[in-house]
């Protein structure tokens, strides 16, 4: 470990992970301090999504550990997971609910009061205000992704884990995403983003390059 971890540092400590006896990730280590963005890069199939699911606590490493507030996350999984926003390849949107109801459900899950005005503001920001009452089943790919990202603005969580968040977003959508990230980071949040495209250079960024796929 290079830096002494503070309370709000996420430490990735010599992580190893294998699937079907094939080692996918090995000797991954890095630290992310409050206000920093960790960009995970690498060729297709090198294990970016896998790493992100490890960091979100969905998977457990075969070796090494991830520390949050100086404690391994496997020992405090439920507590730790409450700090997280995860946006994966799938958006996590309920297609039977409308756009607004999806936000409401999200608030309930985060145990936060649902403020219609606030929700409206968030939707406006994401450029979805004109389809507030549309069923999510009828949204386009980019609209779904925007709705998934609206979660980030709606409820405050310290750690954002985003797996190729720019997928299906148009340029305007990408700008909004970058704004969200800037705001989050300046407020001392942590963001871990896997992406093939370049993000805004202005973020305080750490890079993590994963090797070629071993699989």
């Amino acid at each position: 470990m290079q830096t002494t971890p503070t309370e709000q540092t996420l430490v990735i400590d010599h992580l190893r992970f294998e699937r079907n006896n094939i080692t996918l990730l090995d000797q991954i280590h890095s630290t992310v301090n409050a206000g920093e963005l960790l960009q995970v890069r690498g060729a297709n199939g090198c294990g970016k999504s896998t790493l992100l699911r490890l960091l979100a606590g969905y998977l457990e490493p075969h070796d090494g550990a991830i520390f949050w507030q100086n404690k391994s996350i496997t020992e405090q999984r439920e507590c730790y997971q409450q700090n997280i926003h995860y946006v994966g390849h799938r958006n996590g949107i309920k297609s039977t609910l409308t756009v607004a109801e999806n936000l409401k459900l999200q608030c309930a899950l985060s145990n936060i009061r649902f403020e219609p005005t606030n929700a409206q503001a968030v939707l406006k920001k994401m450029g979805l205000q004109h389809i507030t009452d549309k069923h999510a089943a009828h949204l386009s790919a980019g609209q779904l992704r925007r709705l998934a990202l609206a979660r980030l603005a709606l409820t405050p969580n310290k750690i954002w884990i985003l797996d190729e968040p720019t997928t299906a977003l148009d340029t305007e959508g990408q700008t909004v995403l970058n704004e969200l990230l800037t705001q989050h980071l300046t407020h001392g949040g942590i963001a871990i983003v896997a992406t093939h495209q370049d993000l805004d250079k202005s973020h305080p960024t750490k890079m993590l390059h994963l090797g070629a796929a071993n699989a």
Partner: protein, 223 residues
């Protein structure tokens, strides 16, 4: 906390009611399956009468088995399950909310309509009331045990009939006591013991099922 949980339950019910077919189809399925039997069994009215409790119970069992399989499916496919795991509430409580709303939307209608089918199969008043009570006691167990199975298969895509064969064996005790109570009713024998047994099954499964279900869901996310 309670308020959020109520919102979640409410939202679940809204989702189901909005997709009318998701609660109407199990109901119709129940009716059609029950109607299949007289057609398949042939002419003997006496036999039909004898097997009526069995038919209704098996029909309800199948309708519930088939509908419970979808309780986490759309969540998993849409990636919503990932979010449930990150929720501020304990997963067990979230699961309980989902199960309660599932029971209200999927099992209550079955119970309400079952006396009608009873008429078609010539049950008398006493048998009808026993039927309703035994279904009220039996269906929660079906839902609770079914949820465990559903959660176990959640990571597997197109699991087909894996779920029914996992959980139907667990349903057998309920089935035996449920039909047992009806057979006893038609012979005017006391029922209390059957009902007591079913009550016990409800409580036991209520105690363990949500816990096991949430554990299984975490495992499912591990894939």
């Amino acid at each position: 906390m309670l308020k959020s949980l109520l919102t979640i339950t409410h939202q679940e019910i809204v989702m189901t009611l909005r997709q009318a077919y998701s609660w109407i189809t199990p109901l119709l399925f129940f009716v059609i399956v029950v109607c299949l039997f007289p057609l398949a069994l042939g002419p003997d009215e006496n036999t039909l009468n004898k097997v009526a409790p069995g038919i209704i119970w098996v029909g309800a069992l199948l309708a519930i088995v088939m509908s419970i399989g979808n309780i986490f499916r759309s969540d998993a496919e849409e990636g919503h399950l990932d979010l449930l795991l990150l929720s501020a509430h304990p997963l067990t409580l979230l699961v309980l909310c989902k199960l309660i709303s599932h029971w209200i939307t999927h099992c209550l209608p079955l119970i309400v309509i079952s006396p009608l089918l009873g008429i078609l199969l010539h049950l008398n008043i006493h048998e009808e009331s026993v039927l309703v009570i035994s279904l009220l006691l039996g269906t929660p167990v079906f839902v609770l045990l079914g949820a465990i199975g559903s959660a176990l298969v959640v990571g597997i895509r197109s699991h087909g009939l894996l779920l029914p064969i996992l959980i139907m064996p667990l349903y057998i005790p309920v089935l035996i006591f449920g039909t047992g109570s009806m057979i006893a009713a038609s012979a005017n024998l006391p029922l209390a013991s059957d009902f007591a047994m079913m009550g016990a099954l409800v409580l036991i499964s209520l105690a363990f099922a949500p816990l096991l279900t949430s554990a299984a869901l975490r495992i499912g996310a591990n894939q």
